[in-house]
């Protein structure tokens, strides 16, 4: 009992929750944009890796973490275009292309890491993004320790989740995006360019995934490690579905997963096999999904190539 008290009374548990949720939430919101316009994005893992690597590369070269972040986001966007073009112009199978990009990204980043920096890894002189301390909030006893002091990207994540929701549900652009994802023909008949909107959605998705990668490499650390995403891109995919293709939903799912991860970290001392404790996040996700979430309905035209017969 007291044991649990200690764990749940420790603000670090909730701070860690946020930290672990951030990359997943960012990528999941990105994926939401992509799929809301009708393009399945299973390449988030690869795009994150690319963002993480080029973030470090630019930061190391310019000695500016901010430029690094910029570079990582751009790299993510470009990578996403490699998904958008075949998906939109060639009606390619979006999942195959996505898998291709994942394999490609894994190889490319590792290859560049070794050829550019050698096996010692990226330069230790690489700057990292600043830790932000919120003015008064950080002084509030418990709350302050939870949300008062985080990497800047964590706060950007909050921003993008809200911005994402607002854009999708309260702007003209969002209306058009949802229309294109639900019924491209209908959108076309009222003069909306399905192609443009889809390019936009996928690119936004890529940039957010890129930012998620930057958070791992320049936010939490200031270096790049081979395959440092460790499947977070796929977890983000799950979070997006779990969140029923809405930014808030995706955020919620990411929080749940982040919390379970943080909890499994906190439970490490407990003597139970580390491996078994490590199951917690995955088991909890399944339970939550089957227990409370249930069916989630994707955008009607999600993943279906659209051909304008001319």
């Amino acid at each position: 009992m007291n044991f649990w008290m200690q764990i749940f009374a420790n603000p670090e548990l909730y701070a860690a929750t946020l930290a672990m949720a951030t990359p997943i939430a960012l990528a999941a919101v990105g994926g939401t944009f992509s799929e809301r316009t009708g393009v399945v994005n299973i390449a988030m893992e690869g795009i994150m890796l690319v963002g993480a690597f080029f973030g470090v590369m630019v930061a190391a070269a310019t000695h500016s973490a901010w430029l690094g972040m910029f570079g990582g986001v751009i790299a993510g966007g470009l990578m996403a275009l490699a998904l958008a073009w075949p998906a939109i112009r060639l009606q390619s199978d979006q999942v195959i292309v996505g898998m291709a990009l994942n394999v490609f990204a894994g190889g490319l980043t590792a290859f560049l890491l070794n050829t550019v920096y050698g096996y010692n890894g990226t330069p230790t002189s690489t700057p990292s993004l600043p830790i932000v301390t919120l003015p008064w909030i950080s002084h509030i006893p418990f709350i302050g320790q939870v949300i008062g002091q985080h990497d800047v990207v964590v706060y950007l994540m909050f921003l993008f989740v809200i911005l994402g929701h607002f854009t999708l549900f309260h702007t003209n652009l969002g209306l058009r995006m949802r229309a294109v994802g639900e019924h491209p023909e209908a959108a076309e008949t009222v003069g909306i360019s399905v192609v443009k909107i889809r390019y936009l959605g996928v690119t936004i998705g890529g940039m957010l995934s890129g930012l998620a990668g930057v958070y791992l490499s320049l936010g939490m650390l200031s270096s790049f490690e081979v395959n440092m995403t460790n499947g977070r891109g796929f977890i983000a995919l799950a979070a997006m579905i779990f969140g029923k293709w809405t930014p808030f939903g995706a955020f919620g799912a990411a929080l749940l997963f982040g919390f379970a991860t943080a909890l499994s970290i906190a439970l490490q001392g407990s003597g139970v096999s580390a491996n078994l404790v490590g199951i917690l996040p995955y088991a909890l996700t399944i339970v939550a999904l089957t227990g409370l979430i249930g069916r989630s309905r994707p955008p009607a035209a999600d993943g279906l190539p659209y051909v304008a017969t001319k």
């Binding site: 998906a87 199978d93 195959i96 292309v97 394999v103 894994g106 995955y282 999904l289 993943g303 279906l304």
Partner: protein, 356 residues
């Protein structure tokens, strides 16, 4: 698999290698000799294709039914654990009983893990199989680690690995004289048999017809009196059974024990295999051999041409990309391919059928 796509990929890869100051010709020569250069190489390539074939078939069956089994990796390891466990217990059992028993255990384990649990979750609460199979996969791998890291399946001694399976449970090598000390074992025949069976079931039985019908248009299937939940569970079950079998034969034929790394990568490569083969069993054979060759060859490419292992991933990625974008080549012809309902993208978003 379209040849020109592969060629484009290889050419582009060559250009990249040239830029990276490698000799692409030497590299590809090494790649090829590593994959097919000697009987041993061929043996290893074919052996490497076996788990891809089996897992790929499993994933294809799910796709055909409109389901995306993304957790074959975990099902593979669950199957592996079961096979090894049966394999090193009962060392006195006769071969003819022991092997089938071990493989049966592997299939059962994989089926339950990949099929029954996500299948039921999908059929009854609509939990998206992409999430459930993925999570179950992670769980399986953690359990596997637990088993050998001072867990119930750890072999006595220093190294965190399971005991090796009894001789009575191993799959004998094929023509050891020819493919001398390669990994090629009877597992290969099992894989080929699986291809035939899956092909027949899918295209020559009412079961296959119903699975495909559910995959294309679940509503129409329901209106036609088919039990959609049943076939959902069935499809994911078969999918898991095959992935589990992949793990099983790999253990009994090649690894012979669990070592403390549970990342075969087969489960993910198999997704690409299935997709590139358009979920066609015959195509899966060739796609699997192709990827096995790349993997085997890449090792020799490192040794003989000094090309970094990661470069193979780059090239592989490019090749897959160009296979997926094969319409590039027929771009001029306005004749549009009818949208494949087994289009994984359509499936991942929970739809087999495209609105007309």
């Amino acid at each position: 698999m379209p040849l020109y796509a592969v060629l484009t990929g290889l050419i582009l890869g060559g250009v990249i290698m040239a830029i990276a100051k490698y000799n692409p010709f030497a590299a590809y020569a090494a790649l090829f000799s590593g994959a097919f250069g000697s009987p041993t190489a061929i043996g290893n390539t074919l052996a490497g294709a076996v788990p891809l074939i089996l897992a790929g078939l499993g994933i294809a069956v799910a796709f055909r039914t409109g389901l995306f089994n993304i957790g074959a990796e975990g099902q593979y390891w669950v199957g592996a654990m079961a096979a090894v466990w049966v394999g090193y217990h009962f060392p006195t059992m006769p071969w003819i009983v022991h092997v089938p028993l071990a493989l049966g255990a592997a299939m059962l384990a994989g089926g339950i893990w990949g099929g029954v649990i996500p299948g039921l979750a999908k059929a009854f609460v609509g939990a998206h199989e992409v999430i459930t199979t993925m999570m179950m996969s992670y769980i399986a791998i953690l359990i596997a680690h637990f088993m050998v890291e001072n867990g119930p399946m750890m072999a006595p001694g220093y190294v965190p690995q399971s005991p090796t399976v009894a001789a009575s449970a191993t799959l004998p090598p094929i023509l050891p004289a020819v493919f001398l000390n390669s990994n090629l074992s009877d597992a290969f025949f099992i894989a080929v048999a699986a291809i035939v069976v899956v092909h027949i079931v899918l295209f020559h039985t009412t079961l296959g017809y119903k699975l495909r019908a559910v995959g294309f248009n679940a509503r129409a299937a329901r209106y036609a009196g088919m039990n959609v939940p049943l076939y959902t569970v069935l499809a994911l079950g078969v999918s898991g059974v095959l992935a589990g079998l992949a793990g099983g034969v790999q253990m009994l034929g090649v690894d012979l024990q669990l070592t403390d790394t549970f990342q075969s990568g087969y489960g993910y490569t198999a997704i690409v295999v299935a997709l590139l083969a358009r979920n066609n069993p015959i195509g899966i054979f060739f796609a699997s051999v192709f990827f096995a060759a790349l993997s085997a060859g890449s090792q020799i490419m490192q040794i003989n041409a000094g090309v970094s292992a990661n470069m193979t991933d780059v090239i592989t990625g490019i090749i897959i990309f160009f296979v997926a974008t094969d319409r590039l080549y027929g771009y001029w012809s306005q004749k549009m391919r009818p949208r494949r309902p087994s289009s994984a993208a359509a499936i991942i978003s929970g739809k087999g059928e495209s609105p007309q």
